[in-house]
Amino acid sequence: MNVLPLYAQLINLFAAILLLLSFAMLAQRRVLSLIDLFAAQGLALAASTAIVAFGTGQHHLYWSAGLTLVLKVFLLPWILYRLIRQLDVKWDFERLINVPTTMLIGIVLVVFSFNLAVPISQLASTVTRSTLGIAMACVMLSFLMMITRRKAIPQVIGFLSMENGLFFAATSATYGMPMVVELGIALDVLVGVLILGVFFFQIREQFDSLDLKHLEKLKEGE
């Protein structure tokens, strides 16, 4: 078997770790651990981006890696931690489907996205092309996480981790989007989290809880 260069192996490794972390987030019960996992995912993302930058000589990717590191490993987890401390919600949360079933659905999703990605990654010219399927799987898993969670904060973390998956797709399949676009995306994400932070307080003020089952009043035809 032909052996990939070391940096490509490392990227594959980080891709696998990202996928593993996505599953871990899917299974995680506690909000605080969920945030830690999210930070870990950000770290893996930043590391893999930096390795892509090193391996391919795409220097603008160093900036993306730095941006990811600051935003997703330090800033966003810090904001979320603060929010949780202020809102005083750290306990377990119930979910719509139990863990093993969620995991099985997750595996099906991974198989689905791998299948979807195979024809595309065969077209790619980058060494990291095979990770596109993993990126797509991460997006799908975050999507699943948003669907199965009832509480507001896990849903938001699912949303952010979906963005992680998208970012990984961008770096692995194309060596990164143009810088201006990446900056814009980062800004949107940051502002989005800040707005949601304000939202949490308002939801709590109105409903005395962050459980989204209170947010099911508006239905069709009423």
């Binding site: 594959n12 490794l13 891709a15 995991m103 198989v111 791998f114 095979s130 990770t131 399927g133």
Partner: protein, 316 residues
């Protein structure tokens, strides 16, 4: 098949039978050290087995022949397994007869017999232990098969010696799939060998025990065989793990006696390290409720499946 191959096969089997209780003793000693207790003697398992063989067997009056037969079947199955797991050399004449799937089948055979025997007497503990054992087993086996399939996919064969041959000779590279499979395999091994966090080998507390509940009715030589078989099972699992994930040092072919001679200390070293790690895992983790076991083994299964998927997608 040559005479030397048969000889190496015999050496390996004898070594497995001899080393298995030592491994158990070593793990117990490490656990004692890690939890700041004074350790039991390293050779205690040998003494226990000898003591048990010297005693007179007592069998419940309503026991069927199956009950008496089971220790021999279980011990036999573990010996067969030890014969086909390459621990010293990869040229094993017996291994041609059975591949990894048959290996899982051997473990399953032992499990079924021991569970049947536990229910045979009709005591409450026996049935309870048997039920739990089957519960754990039915979750662990698919995960174990998935791990073995991943290794087979990488090497293109389901025969353990050729998997080891391929894995030992590949170029040094990072294999995320093997890493996942390794973690999954560790989790399955913990569950299969009645270790913390699924079971605790050192307890007879009825709420938690699984394996011990099944063998409560056995005594003397029967119990000795079962204990020895459990030790062999742990030894076999360790050797499968080492063969799949750290295959370095296993002799290739049987002609090279020097290599086999060298493989013995390497194996002992690897087992010592593995035993210490096992003790470490057991010390730092807490036993979980039996109802959490599906989650634990589900995670193992998930990891194994992920390993396979990652291998298929990334080709590594």
């Amino acid at each position: 098949m040559t005479a030397t191959a048969l000889l190496s096969q015999a050496v390996q089997l004898a070594l497995a039978l001899a080393l298995a209780p030592l491994l158990v003793g070593w793990v117990n000693q490490c656990r004692a050290w890690l939890s700041n207790r004074s350790a039991p003697p390293l050779l205690l398992p040998y003494r226990t087995i000898r003591k048990l063989f010297m005693k007179d067997a007592v069998v419940a009056s309503n026991a069927s022949p199956l009950f008496r037969l089971t220790p021999y079947v279980v011990f036999g199955a573990m010996c067969c397994a030890a014969a086909i797991v390459p621990s010293l050399a990869t040229d094993l004449p017996f291994a041609l007869a059975a591949d990894t799937i048959a290996l899982v089948g051997l473990f399953a055979l032992a499990r079924v017999f021991i569970a049947l025997a536990a229910m045979d007497i009709g005591t409450a503990f026996g049935s309870l232990g048997a039920r739990r054992e089957m519960f754990v087993g039915f979750l662990a086996e698919p995960a174990l098969l998935m791990v073995l399939f991943t290794a087979s996919l990488i090497s293109g064969s389901t025969s353990l010696p050729s998997i080891v041959d391929t894995l030992a000779h590949r170029e040094l590279a990072i294999y995320p799939s093997l890493a996942f499979a390794g973690v999954a395999f560790t989790m399955v091994s913990l569950a299969e060998n009645a270790r913390i966090p699924v079971d605790n080998p050192a307890t007879h507390l009825e709420l938690t025990m699984i394996h011990e509940a099944m063998v409560l009715e056995y005594s003397a030589r029967h119990l000795a065989l079962i204990e020895w078989a459990s030790a062999l099972k742990l030894f076999n699992y360790s050797c499968i793990g080492l063969a799949l994930f750290f295959p370095f040092g296993i002799a290739q072919g049987s002609e090279n006696w020097a290599a086999i001679a060298l493989a013995v200390p390497v194996l002992v070293g690897k087992l010592a390290l593995g035993g210490f790690l096992l003790a470490l895992i057991e010390t730092v983790s807490a036993k979980m409720r039996i109802f959490r076991a599906p989650e634990f083994l589900g995670t193992a299964f998930l990891l194994a499946v992920l390993a396979m998927l990652v291998h298929l997608l990334l080709g590594s």
